[in-house]
Symmetry: C3
């Protein structure tokens, strides 16, 4: 329950109403993007990224600064975490300094769960935890779909690639279901996750491709996999990548999405990244407005606009 | 002499009047913390941290931003110090760029002394030098005591732990003496410093504990020590740590302090860190206001408030 | 053509009129430096430094913040470049987030050229590329000369040191020629570049010294060179460094310049760095105003001042 906890940890916890409120508010921020409104001026937020990230970290940083927030960027290399301090003590320290929200990316979801069991006095926004959740990514994906199609309900969304390791797949699955979309999962058999297939059917890629309104390709980390086929990028691309040939078999009006960072020529053909049907860079633009909406909601009580 | 030098290097150099002025001004900043006053808007300060730090660096950064200062964060990994440039040339360069104050943490106190021998054109605030000085920590400790007890004069303060290596012990010792408090030093015999015992008596921990108004535990870096007892955290904790049992023998009304980062279960029992008698996180909160007062004093001439 | 491309990549591309406009506007920013004008408030710029840098990076950061710009600092260590993302995709992502200008330092000039062949949607400011170009350094050098002498035309400028590896030499050479100054190149024979000597004569150091209005010493990286004379700093200093003795043979009114970071006692005598004839730290101060002018020009359309 977002409103009770005031945290944003997983799209599982969000009601349809809460999702719609966030999307509406994101639209407000997009419409007013040129106005330099700064309702949270003089208030502090910290970004704690325990994994490398460009787009998510900068997306939050832009969202925060556009709201007028002062930003503390925490990097493990220059911090007392080197001295063995726990995340709880780090966050509690930041709160003592005046920080009201912590945006955290961490490999271990348990670290966030443990944090929430204790009262740090600040709201937590999950910026990506291991393979479990990446709620702001899913919300910006929804926003992108709604902007394009006018609605999310009834859309068919094929999520394709390394489902087993994907926090993006999971967060989208929970969200899309609540909003009345139909999700299909696809990708190499080695990358399936039977637990998720209780909630969304697994379909062969070329089958999903023909019925999907949204083809959401996931990043493939070939270096993670043992099977020889994953060492041959070309072979992977031909079997499971979005090729130009496959684009032609997509439904009229269907769009391509990808959370990034993408591997050109692996899960998506180089020339499709910026194809007119691709929403990839628009997703990034939308991410700023969605994160502004999320921060505004968890922080509450900025200046009246 | 703070007013003459305009630097803040060591609490040794501060008069009682100067200390009181800083504490009073810190109280002003605490009282007005919600007001988003920014008297130094458009002016620049640089944080130069040559040792890892979370709380001190972020505490200064928050203090600076609350004053409206623009902040340059200097990290050795991304700087020309890698190319062998001296600190003097670095600071002089920053001054040329418009920086008016440099907040410096450095392992070698001589580096700061050498810097002060030459005219850089900017004020220096010491954010911790080796084992010699950490003046803003001592000032925030004083502020915390004054806020709790209403006065510092007459207080009995036991500083406990690795005295020999502690810049916090030294800076507190000079400050507390000037303000009329009585300091006792305690801790393992291997961690005593005979030079400091000219200024404050060494007492057995359990003796100091019973008379102290403030029990200030220091961080222990067990890995630094050769003696086998320091390799057994439990053993150290029983002999020289603030245990729950020892808490019960503290004087009524006495408080626990710790400069952080703390080792839960080593120098302080886990459950005492956030005990009602503990001022540990309040110290961090107070640090922001004290650092605002220090920066304001060394920079002078902000906008009238 | 700066106006057409709106990028600033190389002084080769600038007309005399464009250079003069930048210098005039830099003078405006210097005159109004105390006013806290922020014509670009709420707009975003990113600094992407793929080489270590102190003064250039901070100089841009100060310039940006003085214009009111919000700054994203990109460091390779904490970014998806670690995951193999191309610079084009990184910049395109930043643009999607709202970034309007990217200030880039990179070892490989080709990386910037490739970037310009595609439409990223943002303006690029070159903050130093390999040995080819460092346009804002050359512009600040011109500004420093014009401020001192009242004009650049007719000045004799001796650029001395490792000409072959110097982007500063190249960018100054193109600029100074357009502004009517006469450039001479000098330094050890091993560090000559015959290609540049089509545009400016090579002269023995002691000959150039006697006629130059500006003696611009370049940073020497002795560790780069194989020849044994470059391993003896003293020997290098005597043969090719600006010694106190050589200062005495400089033309009356002539000034010393150096782009920094300098090696005291190698290419310039320690006591000459801050000699009254040295413009070294003034160059750094001027750099902020020149970079404000450059950013203003490439970004255009800030608030009316």
């Amino acid at each position: 329950m977002l409103l009770e906890q005031t945290h944003l940890i997983d799209t599982k916890d969000l009601s349809q109403t809460e999702i719609e409120e966030i999307l509406e508010r994101a639209a407000f921020w997009e419409q007013n993007r040129a106005k330099n409104l700064v309702p949270f001026a003089g208030r502090f937020v910290a970004n704690l990224f325990f994994e490398p990230s460009t787009r998510t970290k900068f997306s939050f940083e832009v969202a925060e600064k556009r709201l007028g927030l002062e930003v503390l960027n925490f990097s493990t290399a220059h911090s007392s975490v080197a001295k063995g301090e726990s995340l709880y003590d780090t966050v509690k320290t930041l709160v003592s300094l005046g920080v009201e929200a912590a945006v955290i990316r961490h490999q271990e979801p348990e670290v966030i769960s443990e944090l929430l069991e204790r009262d740090t006095g600040c709201v937590i926004v999950n910026a990506g935890t291991g393979k479990t959740a990446h709620p702001t990514q899913a919300l910006l994906d929804l926003y992108t779909m709604k902007k394009h199609f006018g609605h999310v309900s009834g859309l068919k969304v094929a999520i394709v690639g390394d489902i087993a390791h994907s926090r993006v797949a999971r967060s989208n699955l929970w969200c899309l279901g609540k909003m009345g979309a139909q999700v299909m999962l696809s990708g190499p058999p080695e990358m399936r996750d039977p637990d998720l297939e209780k909630f969304a059917p697994y379909v062969p890629f070329d089958e999903g491709l023909q019925v999907a309104d949204v083809v959401m390709m996931l990043r493939i980390q070939l270096e993670r996999h043992q099977d020889p086929i994953f060492h041959a990028q070309d072979q992977y691309h031909q079997m499971f990548g979005l090729t130009k040939e496959r684009l032609n078999r997509m439904k009229p009006g269907a769009v391509i999405m990808h959370p990034g960072p993408f591997n050109r020529g692996v899960e998506i053909a180089d020339e499709l990244v910026e194809h007119p049907r691709s929403k990839i860079f628009e997703q990034k633009a939308n991410g700023v407005f969605v994160r502004m909406a999320v921060l505004e909601k968890v922080l509450q009580g900025g200046q009246e606009l």
